[in-house]
């Protein structure tokens, strides 16, 4: 088993375009590190550099304490699960899984034992004689996983492995991947743009934006204390409400002069609160130590266990989560109250205050 260390890793394309701008991440042994971010943020490039499929422009990638910059993917002892699975279409499932072992000159009976073991764990035993095109999407996904597991590598790399599956299957596989990774205890790097996958899978969550790490840490820490407006709006669904504010005298107001009901910390220009951290009150009382904003309901989205109210407050869209059925109807006027300990403040640069 192994640790993975990235140090000031950069990727420059064609001498000009910087895809990754100095990323440092330390992944301890057996941890699952999720790289999450919008498309084009450099997360896949970073993964491919760990795999050895892209050259490293500067900085170092180390696996198990050994710098692997100059080592090809063949010798890095890693296994990768691709977004499109990349199963060899002309080989049976068995041969797909055995390929990597044969290339490493493992004896036949050992290969057979390993492939059958893994096939049994992944419930693929009855599919070993099929070709990839005869399998469903979920089964292909399993074979791709099996091909990675059977090699017993130092590191697993996942490149958006679930994005080609339908929502239900994705949920199932997510749990399965988590369980497998935990039981095998293999250090893993997982790339996704799905914040739900990121939150649920990660031991270490790395939020990336424009080639840089925006924030890194335990998923819930990041959720509770986003380091920037980018992280705040990227992690969580629906995203955090972010309102521009102006300090005035003892208090602060929204851009149009609406008093928010409490003072803002110095330098804060953006106020944020999560949809679930808000109370909706119908009366006109102003609670102490809380933000209170008059708002009008524009739309109500009942999801079942919860409902989302889409409200307008002084030109801002605010999403509020209420559990169960919402009593509010569109065009109702109400007051949105957020307690001070649930508030997030961000400065001009978007950083947390």
């Amino acid at each position: 088993m192994a640790t993975v260390d990235l140090k000031d890793v950069e990727k420059v394309y064609g001498g000009a375009v910087k895809a990754v701008k100095g990323v440092t991440i330390a992944i301890p042994d057996k941890a699952l590190c999720v790289l999450v971010g919008p498309s084009g943020c450099g997360k896949s490039t970073l993964l491919r550099m760990i795999a050895g499929l892209e050259t490293i422009s500067s900085g170092t990638v180390s696996i198990d304490g050994k710098v692997v910059n100059e080592i090809g993917p063949t010798e890095r002892d890693i296994a990768m699960v691709f977004q499109n699975y990349a199963l060899y279409p002309h080989m049976k499932v068995y041969d797909n899984m055995a390929y990597g072992l044969r290339n490493r000159g493992m004896p036949k009976d050992e290969i057979d034992r390993r492939v059958k073991d893994v096939a049994a764990t992944l419930e693929l035993a009855h599919l070993l004689d099929r070709r990839p095109r005869e399998l469903s999407g979920g089964q292909r996904q399993r074979v791709a996983m099996g091909r990675a597991i059977v090699r017993n590598p130092k590191v697993f790399l996942f490149d958006e492995p679930l994005s080609n599956l339908d929502a239900k299957l994705r949920g199932q596989m997510r749990v399965e991947i988590k369980n497998l990774q935990r039981s095998l205890g293999v250090t893993s790097v997982y790339v996704t743009h799905d914040q739900l996958e990121a939150m649920t899978l990660a031991d270490i969550l790395v939020v990336m934006n424009a080639g840089l790490v925006e924030q890194m840490g335990a998923p819930l820490d990041i959720y509770e204390k986003p380091a920037s407006t980018f992280v705040a709006s990227f992690i969580g669904a629906p995203p955090m409400n972010l309102l521009p504010i102006v300090a005035s005298g003892n208090g602060a107001t929204l851009a149009d002069g609406t008093d928010i009901g409490m003072a803002a910390p110095a330098n804060a220009v953006t106020l944020g609160f999560r949809p679930e951290d808000v109370d909706v009150v119908m009366n006109a009382d102003r609670p102490e130590g809380a933000v209170a904003l008059p708002a009008r309901v524009e739309a109500v989205e009942p999801v079942g266990a919860e409902s989302f109210l889409y409200c307008a407050a002084a030109g801002n869209r605010i999403v509020v989560r209420v559990s169960g059925r919402a009593t509010a109807k569109p065009d109702d006027d109400l007051r949105i109250v957020a307690k001070s300990e649930k508030l997030h403040w961000f400065d001009q640069a978007g950083k947390r205050v």
Binding site: A51, G52, L53, G72, P73, T74, R76, I78, A79, M80, F82, Q83, N84, A86, Y88, P89, H90, Y99, G100, N103, R104, R131, R133, R147, R151
Partner: protein, 294 residues
């Protein structure tokens, strides 16, 4: 399955396919039938009278040692041409696939030879390898090889294969390049991560996935070598020296148009037709089974 289309009109469908049928009948079946009929006729030396002789021409052709020699020549020529043309094209295509800068330019250059007419290509190689004035022949001679395609049958065959293959390489190259591009990059990357070196990747992943292309080209190249190389043979060796490069197609021409043995020539073309049909059938029947269409 898509449901069958039902035409309400009984005659319109036939009317619509009539032009196609007419062309096929007039330009394919009628000449083929004529050849078959001619192959059973025997003409006097002056072409005044002809006699229906059933399969006499076939019997004579098939027991003629020079015809049997021609079959042997054709097999050697076709196998060598197809093999050389396909191997070189594959090699070039694999290398072109690695070119990063000027890919389009490089490929365009590679495709040009296909635009050269067969007879011109033949002349080109004739001059290049001409024992007395050919620049490549001089180099060969200097390297200690007694190069003489005018007198040495084997040398003539080598020259012919080079010329015929050269002409076909561009065509094969084009298809191999397209075939290589159709192989997903992630498969190659997956194989690299799976511990396969470059050579191993080629033979275990790339080559099997190219199989549909290779199979298609095998059929095309064999047919090319059998049928479409008349121009090159005519320009380069004219079937000589002796009969050492007289392929079946060239013999059909020689016997029919030069020696005016029309019956025998017609019988030969019928046999040739049967051979090509059989070859193609065999290729589809047996070789295609080993081909996986991803």
């Amino acid at each position: 399955m898509t449901p069958r289309v039902v035409f309400p009109n009984k005659f319109l469908p036939y009317l619509l396919v009539a032009p196609q049928l007419a062309i096929t009948l007039i330009f394919f079946y009628w000449p083929a039938g004529q050849a078959l009929y001619q192959s059973m006729l025997k003409e006097d030396p002056f072409g005044l009278r002809s006699k229906f002789v059933w399969f006499d021409n076939f019997k004579r052709v098939l027991s003629d040692p020079s015809y049997l020699n021609s079959i042997k020549v054709t097999i050697v020529f076709s196998v060598a041409t197809a093999a050389v043309a396909m191997c070189v094209a594959l090699l070039l295509a694999v290398m072109a696939d690695k070119v990063v800068r000027g890919k389009g330019f490089y490929r365009t250059l590679m495709i040009w030879p296909y635009a050269v007419a067969p007879a011109i290509a033949g002349m080109l190689f004739l001059f290049l390898f001409n024992p007395s004035i050919g620049s490549l022949a001089v180099l060969l001679r200097r390297a200690g090889i007694p190069w003489d395609p005018v007198l040495n049958g084997n040398h003539a065959m080598i020259l012919l294969v080079i010329a015929a293959a050269w002409k076909q390489i561009s065509y094969n190259f084009l298809f191999f390049v397209a075939g290589l591009q159709a192989i997903p990059k992630t498969l190659i990357e997956a194989a690299a991560i799976d511990g396969a070196g470059e050579t191993k990747r080629f033979w275990t992943i790339v080559f099997p996935l190219l199989a549909p292309t290779t199979f298609f080209l095998l059929v095309i190249n064999t047919t090319y070598a059998f049928f479409d190389t008349f121009g090159i043979v005519h320009a380069v060796t004219g079937g000589g020296p002796g009969k050492s490069t007289e392929t079946l197609v060239y013999k059909v021409y020689n016997d029919g148009f030069v020696n005016l043995i029309l019956g025998s020539s017609a019988a030969q073309s019928v046999i040739l037709m049967v051979i090509v049909i059989a070859l193609t059938a065999i290729q589809f029947r047996y070789v295609e089974k080993k081909v996986h269409y991803g």
